[in-house]
């Protein structure tokens, strides 16, 4: 797939002077956006730049206040997803549109279900359809598995098959790789290239510029609801895109002073735990975490990372083993006590576990500390004044973009939602920081900021456990890297361990220990 070829191709999508105003925000401000038939077009921009909004408009979920849309040259009015589907538009949403309690098959068929006479749902034909699609695009799925039981990678895959099943010619993928491992992302790109070869058109939203450069033909950059520029992938580079997005130069890689590890802060011995589905997730795993160091945990999603963090944070009870915080046994403590003991936790499920979305930013900034002496008189009566001042301080310090401390967290963009959590957890001046996917789905501006804060925290002497699906992130921040595979730590590598070696270890490949 090449840009030249793209240039020759006719326009599949033209969006002209699109304006969309939400209470208080101009999400799209006279946006011009066009995509050539048979190309992969990347759409990038900070959180809240307006990408999802623009795409939701294209898919009929939102209605523009003004502007016009042409599909294959024809002016169209898209009143809802039905119209979009009819126009051959398919969309994989930023937040999956999957029904956990349904089977993969039912999820994919939904809306275009095969039926036997009498309107009975036809399981057999559903299976056939899916098998066919799997063969054609190499996207293997078990139609009878319960969607909720699948790892995100496969759910992502199901979303794509869902779109293909509807025979979409124009595919919109809103942050499809946000939750994927490098391997999964690579597979996905393979699929996308295949689709484009078939003449399909793809719009691809991502915060990961590497991917964008790797897979796209053209790039549109958005900033604060406006188009900041159009680029041809081959003629640009990360730094340029980043500058366009943020409006200033961005450090794509934090430079680390060498760590000065202190005494052991967290000692984990033979820790075992089971997942929600009752299967063993952690198998007698042990490690030590020192003050003043960042220990990265690398691993393919679903190898026990989530459970590890939950157990350490006290939100999940271990089945065996021991956890010591500075020689104090915290194995049995509940979340509140663990927190009180000095363990801070940035949960991976930002919107579900990290925030009370309908609470104000200020209220969220004391979540978990509502009974601290500083915020509650006698641990009972809230000190609203103190809370408000605290909130103002963190909002300033962590540059949280919010109209006021009173604003409901729900209305913040994810990047800023994430900043709220980071601010809260770091604000607690913890002994140990558990950071799970701290920058998932967050734009590079915010990523840079969060990374700097984590490193600063380390230099202050905090012991940091960093879990991330981003090898880059792990490698750029960690002093040591523990590779997690099937609930065990298969190896502890130095922070500069080569990517391919880690990749190998992560996928169960045995490699000669590289020390550390």
């Amino acid at each position: 797939m090449s840009a030249e070829l793209g240039a020759a191709a006719p326009l599949a999508v033209e969006m002209r002077q699109i304006v969309k105003i939400f209470p208080g925000v101009v999400a799209n401000d006279h946006v011009d956006f066009e995509v050539r038939q048979g190309t992969i077009h990347a759409l990038v921009g900070e959180n809240g730049a307006g990408k999802s909004t623009l795409m939701n408009i294209l898919y009929g979920l939102l209605h523009p206040d003004s502007g016009e849309i042409r599909i294959h040259g024809q002016p169209v009015r898209i009143n809802g997803p039905r119209d979009a589907i009819a126009l051959g538009i398919g969309m994989v949403h930023q937040h999956f549109m999957l029904i956990p309690v349904f089977t993969v098959g039912e999820n994919i068929m939904l809306g275009r279900e095969p039926v036997r006479p009498g309107g009975f749902y036809d399981h057999r034909r559903a299976r056939e359809e899916i098998a066919a699609l799997s063969r054609r695009y190499g996207l293997v799925l078990d139609p009878d598995a319960r969607m909720g039981d699948l790892p995100v990678g496969l759910q992502q895959r199901a979303e794509i098959v869902k779109v293909l099943y509807r025979g979409a010619e124009i595919l919109v993928l809103d942050e499809p790789t946000g939750v994927l491992t490098p391997q999964e992302s690579q597979e996905l790109f393979g699929v996308l290239r295949g689709l484009v070869r078939e003449g399909k058109t793809i719009i691809f939203i991502s915060h990961k510029l590497k991917e964008v450069l790797e897979v796209s033909d053209r790039i549109t950059v958005m900033r604060r609801g406006k188009v900041a520029g159009h680029l041809i992938t081959k003629e640009t580079n990360e730094a340029e895109i980043a500058r366009m997005m943020v409006g200033r130069d961005v450090l794509l890689r934090v430079e680390l002073k060498p760590a000065r590890p202190g005494p052991v802060a967290l000692r984990v011995e033979d820790l075992s735990a089971t997942s929600d589905r009752g299967v063993p997730a952690l198998r007698a795993l042990s490690f030590e975490l020192h003050r003043g160091e960042i220990l990265g945990v690398a691993g393919v999603e679903g190898n026990g990372q989530s459970e590890l963090v939950e157990v350490l944070a006290g939100t999940r009870q271990p089945t065996a083993g021991r956890i010591a915080l500075q020689d104090r046994d915290i194995t049995e403590l509940d979340a509140a006590r663990v927190r009180a003991a000095g363990v801070a936790h940035i949960p991976e499920d930002r919107r579900g576990a990290g925030l009370v979305l309908n609470y104000s930013v200020a209220a969220n900034l004391i979540l978990g500390h509502q009974r601290d002496a500083a915020f509650a008189w006698r641990r009972m009566v809230l000190r609203l004044q103190a809370i408000l001042e605290w909130a103002r301080r963190l909002i300033a310090e962590f540059d949280i973009r919010t109209p006021s401390p009173e604003t409901p967290a729900r209305t913040l963009s994810g990047g800023n939602q994430q900043k709220v959590i980071v601010a809260r957890e770091l604000g607690a001046r913890p002994t140990v920081l558990l950071a799970a996917q701290p920058t998932r789905g967050v734009d590079i501006g915010a990523i840079e900021f969060i990374h700097r804060r984590i490193v600063a925290e380390r230099d202050e002497g905090t012991a940091v456990l960093l879990i991330s699906a981003e090898l880059d992130e792990i490698r750029s921040l960690s002093d040591r890297i523990a590779v997690l595979y099937e609930g065990r730590i298969v190896s502890i590598e130095p922070g500069n361990a080569p990517e391919d070696r880690l990749g190998l270890l992560m996928t169960g490949g045995t490699a000669t220990p590289g020390g550390g």
């Binding site: 939701n56 898919y59 979920l61 939102l62 209605h63 809802g80 997803p81 039905r82 589907i85 969309m91 949403h93 937040h95 549109m97 999957l98 029904i99 956990p100 309690v101 349904f102 039912e106 999820n107 939904l110 809306g111 275009r112 279900e113 039926v115 009498g118 309107g119 009975f120 749902y121 869902k162 509807r166």
Partner: protein, 316 residues
């Protein structure tokens, strides 16, 4: 002790189970309505009101047209209209679905008596002659089977209808495309919408059918089991049905089992003239039983994920 003896005796009489089934069906219909409505994501605690309205219009109509079938139809429609109000307020106006449900129930209480006073003056609504009631049907041959015949095949026509509906609705919900879509809308309306399903249409349909079912139950109560309308004659049955639906974990057969428990309790209580225990303690039976079963055996119930959440297209 004698009391338990008396009850023990009763359990072996076909009449008791006959009564149990009839009483259960009275609850089953609205409970089924609730299942359908809530499976589509619209909380429905308005069965009480829909039932009461159905009961009133069943009698009013029967006294005019002298035909139980037409009267039942009117009752069903009346229930449907009440449901339509709930639907419009809860779906179109995205009102709180509990408020709307409570409002329907209060409205029904008021409007029925208000209408009586206005149209029948302060006179008696009147009685429907036996010939114009929803009839009992003896199923030929089958009704001869000892015990079972009495229990199953000598029932009011509505009982048979309800049992058929029970199966139909189960199949519809879990075997058909429509059922899949109803459940999808109740679990994740955004997903359904983005898959091209008319979320509102499905929800309207589901809510309205809950009204139709409750209306039928009202007709059964007013011109099947009794022959006239008296104010508030539903007497909380709609709420029991609600409990039954949840007890049954939002499934038709689960709800049916719960209805049978209440039906049995009612049937046993009806024998208070021969059971030697305080009638009041006796009346507590089904409720305590339900509590125990619920706590002991049934446990956690998981409502449809989007139950009670108004859907606003476009806003994530």
């Amino acid at each position: 002790m004698t009391a338990l003896g008396d009850i023990g005796h009763l359990l072996f009489t076909a009449d008791l189970w006959h009564a149990t089934l009839a009483a259960a069906v009275l609850l089953l219909l609205p409970a089924l309505g609730g299942v359908v409505s809530e499976r589509s994501g619209v909380v429905n605690i308005a069965m009480e009101g829909m039932m009461l309205t159905g009961a009133f219009f069943a009698v009013a109509a029967d006294l005019i047209v002298h035909n139980p079938w037409l009267a039942a139809l009117v009752a069903i429609l009346a229930g449907g209209v009440m449901a339509l109000v709930h639907a419009v307020v809860a779906i179109r106006f995205r009102a709180d679905q509990i408020v709307s449900g409570i409002a329907i129930n209060i409205f029904a209480t008021g409007i029925t008596v208000f209408l009586i006073n206005r149209f029948y003056g302060l006179q008696d609504v009147g009685h429907v002659p036996p010939a114009e009631l929803l009839p009992n049907l003896q199923i030929p041959l089958l009704d001869q089977i000892p015990f079972v015949g009495r229990v199953l095949f000598q029932q009011n026509v509505v009982v048979y209808v309800a049992l058929i509906l029970l199966v139909v609705i189960h199949v519809l919900l879990f075997r058909t495309r429509l059922g899949l879509r109803i459940r999808a809308v109740g679990e994740h309306p955004e997903a359904a919408d983005t898959a091209g399903i008319h979320v509102y249409r499905i929800r309207y349909g589901a809510v309205i059918s809950s009204g139709l079912l409750s209306g039928l139950s009202g007709a059964f109560l007013a011109i099947g089991i009794s022959n006239t309308f008296v104010p508030n004659m539903t007497d909380g049955r709609g709420y029991i049905a609600l409990a039954a639906m949840i007890f049954g974990k939002w499934t038709p057969f689960g709800a049916f089992i719960a209805c049978l428990i209440f039906g049995l309790g009612q049937a046993i209580y009806d024998n208070n003239s021969i059971i030697h225990v305080s009638q009041y303690l006796l009346s507590m039976l089904p409720y305590i039983l339900t509590l125990v079963v619920l706590a002991g055996l049934v446990g956690r119930a998981q409502p449809p994920a989007a139950d009670g959440i108004p859907y606003t297209p476009g806003i994530e």
